[in-house]
Symmetry: C2
Subunit: 323 residues, 2 copies
């Protein structure tokens, strides 16, 4: 039994074959909720965070396509919409799975704001693509009219790019901690949380950016004194030489070993990199164990029997440092 | 000092002159947040609910206009999106107003589901218009293809109509009550909450409907043992002969007096009717006082000095019934 933060990846919420329909998303969410209900049934305290890429992408595209008729919402507002949408699906579905098992835990979604530093270097060079593809002509018009940044994306067209600053703190963490202590299951920091910054000592304001959901999950886990960070994704774990013939998945590693591999540049920035950085940050700031595994291995991963298991230190080195 | 549910009307969140822009909505929300911060500074426990008409209308319209490119979300999901969006604006803005006053209360939005009865007569005859106007031809196509109900709206075109069933219970009320007891300010039941029903004993499912936000607020107020229900709107209070030369606003009335006027058909179904029904329901189920007043009279209304003040009973009749 532990306090666990479950970070759901995109495949836990929807699959491409479902084409983004509500029925399809609910089917995916139900499968994920079943695993989480089992963790709660086993006595764990669970907080859930999740990605929002396809959902906020669709909301942005709807904003763009309807912009002649409806005032477009900025990215922070679209992120908040996606937190409501995805949180609703998870809290309804997980509540159903818990009741089916005779459990009476309440499940709530807390709309979450994540503080970033306005001087984060990410604001100088936006790199994270969001929304739909447009022609070069349309991208140039948007750059001219709105001051947005757009970039050509792998020959598929132009996409808006936004900054992806580091998460410093989850504003609502104290409330989430109180809810966990009361036995409530909380969905929070969806899509990394809505990015906000302090305009002055007292005033928070939204900013158009996207926060990496695994980094935000690690920050929230730290603020909640979570013991296990369980990052669920679509691969079996952290791989060395990913996609090459000599690829092999890491099983049990220590924080020190993973940091060494990271420094050697083993993990690509776009995919596994942020998950490894999230795991390292979590363990460096008091976490006991980080797990990166596939969604369907969630229960085995939590039990220490699947995926990549990263411990702050092995028992031998901990004993040595205590001596 | 009391436990107060503040029900914000549409004008507390946006004004038509702002044309639905984020900056405009934030300006409206900031004004409303200032009033609420003053209530909290005076020592009241506050829970906030709000309407979502313009916002969910825009989200629906975006769904319709983008439907060739993006799978349209059903109405319950659009409602959840609007809870995230509006909740984010309120929690950010009210948090700012509290910090500016040196107060350290936390403010969170809880995504809310509201249980309705699938046998509610509203499902037989949908009456609540939502989303944008279309031509008769387009409406007929939608009726044929989707089974939706559409109706001609006052010569302005055709609009989709959906059921507006009665709210039976707010699913997340127990958690909201715990948060209030901890001193947290909660935004909940936005837009009446996402309508859901029990498919069987354990399984909740969303349903395409719209719940009146004042009726949902009254139900939540009852579940939270709120003392004062403060319904903020764009008129000075409950009027008799509204819009006619002999119009006059009601000041202090008892529950019995208001019920008598309601039975005589004094209040139109579309506008003041649901607010009066909400106030009556709240007072009949244990509430002390319901206030219906204009947004800018919020503080005077809470102090008993503005708007229509409805008390469960005057002291004389209460003493008489105790004798």
């Amino acid at each position: 039994m532990a306090r666990v933060l479950v970070a759901l990846g995109g495949n836990a919420l929807s699959r491409p074959s479902e084409r983004g329909t509500m029925a399809g998303q609910l089917a995916s969410v139900r499968r994920s909720s079943g695993y989480i209900a089992e963790m709660i049934a086993a006595g764990n305290e669970v907080v859930i965070s999740h990605g929002n890429g396809p959902q906020v992408g669709n909301i942005l595209l709807q904003n763009e396509l309807a912009r002649e008729s409806v005032a477009s919402m900025p990215l922070d507002a679209c992120g908040a919409e996606s937190e409501g949408l995805i949180g609703y699906m998870i809290q309804q579905s997980l509540g159903n799975e818990l009741r089916r098992r005779g459990l009476r835990h309440e499940v709530v979604t807390v709309v979450t704001q994540t503080v970033v530093d306005p001087d984060d270097p990410a604001f100088v060079r936006p790199t994270k693509p969001v929304g739909g593809f447009v022609t070069a002509e349309e991208a140039l018009r948007r750059i001219r009219e709105s001051g947005e940044a757009w970039a050509e994306d792998s020959g598929r067209g132009w996409r808006r790019v936004v900054p992806s600053p580091k998460p410093l703190a989850i504003v609502e963490a104290p409330t989430i901690a109180k809810l966990l202590a009361l036995g409530t299951v909380v969905v929070a920091a969806g899509g990394g949380g809505v990015p906000v910054y302090y305009r002055d000592d007292s005033e928070l304001a939204g900013v158009e950016a996207v926060i990496d959901k695994d980094l935000a999950a690690a920050r929230l886990a730290q603020q909640l004194a979570v013991q296990v960070l369980l990052i669920l994704t679509d691969v079996a774990g952290v791989a060395l030489a990913y996609g090459r013939p000599e690829q092999r998945f890491l099983g049990d590693v220590t924080l020190g070993e993973l940091e060494g591999l990271f420094r050697r540049g083993e993990f690509p920035a776009g995919s596994m990199g942020p998950k490894v950085v999230a795991a390292i940050g979590f363990l460096r700031n008091g976490g006991d164990r980080a797990v990166i595994c596939s969604l369907d291995d969630a229960l085995a991963g939590l039990a220490g029997e699947a995926g990549t298991q990263i411990r702050r230190d092995n028992l031998r080195s901990r004993a040595a440092s205590a001596a």
